[in-house]
Symmetry: C2
Subunit: 207 residues, 2 copies
């Protein structure tokens, strides 16, 4: 059965981006440091066409597993717009991506297997369409924080995978801001430390 999951990098103090975010600074100050480990991984480099090489250890194995399980993505509008200017011509998803928006816009097919579908009738609709598109594979709620929060609060997330970077942001974009924590419970189902990051995996259930 297909699962709905979140997979994000985060600081020890719960930030997925730094302060002073803006169109020219989408990850905020020092935000790139949260994801530095990821850019070293062979599987991630291949998906973004960043060139040959990269690490092939445990971190890479985890990234490969994540890429392999995704049958469809759900993205917020802002994350789509930020990505639109920085992703290569071959957008890195290589599967259907459902963008939550208020506009009406026809699907946008990119070379390499990514098609963006624009959904303007809510969370449930986007998830239903993503599930149908994913088939046996899983649906990733890719972000941003606000979209993850909405799906958590709606009780629709089944797994939460967090890669904790060894850093504190102090001030930044907090993943769980606005989450109604009484609505769901976490149960640790996996923890894999690597020198660069700690991979935590939780099953999420409604309280």
């Amino acid at each position: 059965m297909s699962k709905v999951f979140v997979n994000l990098g985060m600081t020890l103090d719960g930030c997925i981006a730094g302060p002073n975010r803006g169109p020219k600074n989408p990850l905020g100050d020092r935000g790139i440091a949260i994801h530095e480990w990821l850019f070293e991984q062979r599987a991630f480099r291949a998906s973004l066409k960043l060139g040959e090489g990269g690490e092939t250890g445990e971190d890479n194995r985890i990234v490969e597993g994540t890429i392999r399980r995704i049958g469809a993505n759900i993205l917020g509008k802002r994350m789509f717009e930020e990505g639109e200017v920085s992703w290569p011509e071959e957008a890195p998803f290589r599967c259907p991506v459902f963008v939550l928006t208020h506009e009406s816009r026809p699907p946008w097919e990119r070379p390499g297997g990514t098609t963006f579908h624009f959904v303007n009738d809510g969370l449930d609709s986007a998830l239903g369409r993503a599930r149908a598109a994913a088939g046996e594979k899983d649906v990733r709620i890719s972000g941003g924080a606000n979209v993850v929060m909405q799906y958590l609060n709606a009780g629709l997330v089944e797994e939460l995978e967090i890669a904790i970077a060894p850093m504190v942001m102090g001030d930044g974009l907090r993943l769980f801001d606005g989450v109604d924590a009484r609505k769901f419970e976490l149960r640790l189902i996996g923890a894999i430390p690597s020198p660069s990051v700690t991979h935590l995996r939780y099953a999420v259930s409604r309280s």
Copy 2:
């Protein structure tokens, strides 16, 4: 060489207590859930005289190790005052405790080996006295969050041990609020998952 360390329980979103804290609710709403695992451990139960029994697995081994390494504690005034009313007659520290305060007050010796010393001339002074009292053992910056923040910002913390409880608070007392994250760096030196909590250990160095 004696080390200065922090050891705290925290939620996945960086909270060490819940919302609505007050004199009658020192851990805030749902705050006790962060530490539930700890109250099950044999070593912790013994230190607080909570009675016989308790778990004796990996979590307990870690708690024993922490208790054993502490030669002196540093506490904030508020944490001291909150604890004063809830600790048993034999306060659980069983070693010298240095309380940061603005008052002048003579030492207060408790049965069981705990003596509270009141320090009104700042962080450095408290740490100097705690180091001298600890001898070969380590100095624990016990909290609260504001005191941990002050020692982190002063570059005086050498190790950070965080037990991440499988829960999100959404809103609460954040450990790293007000921390100047550009002043120090973390390096993961240990990660031990247990079903109830994930023990992360970082070396802290000045940036």
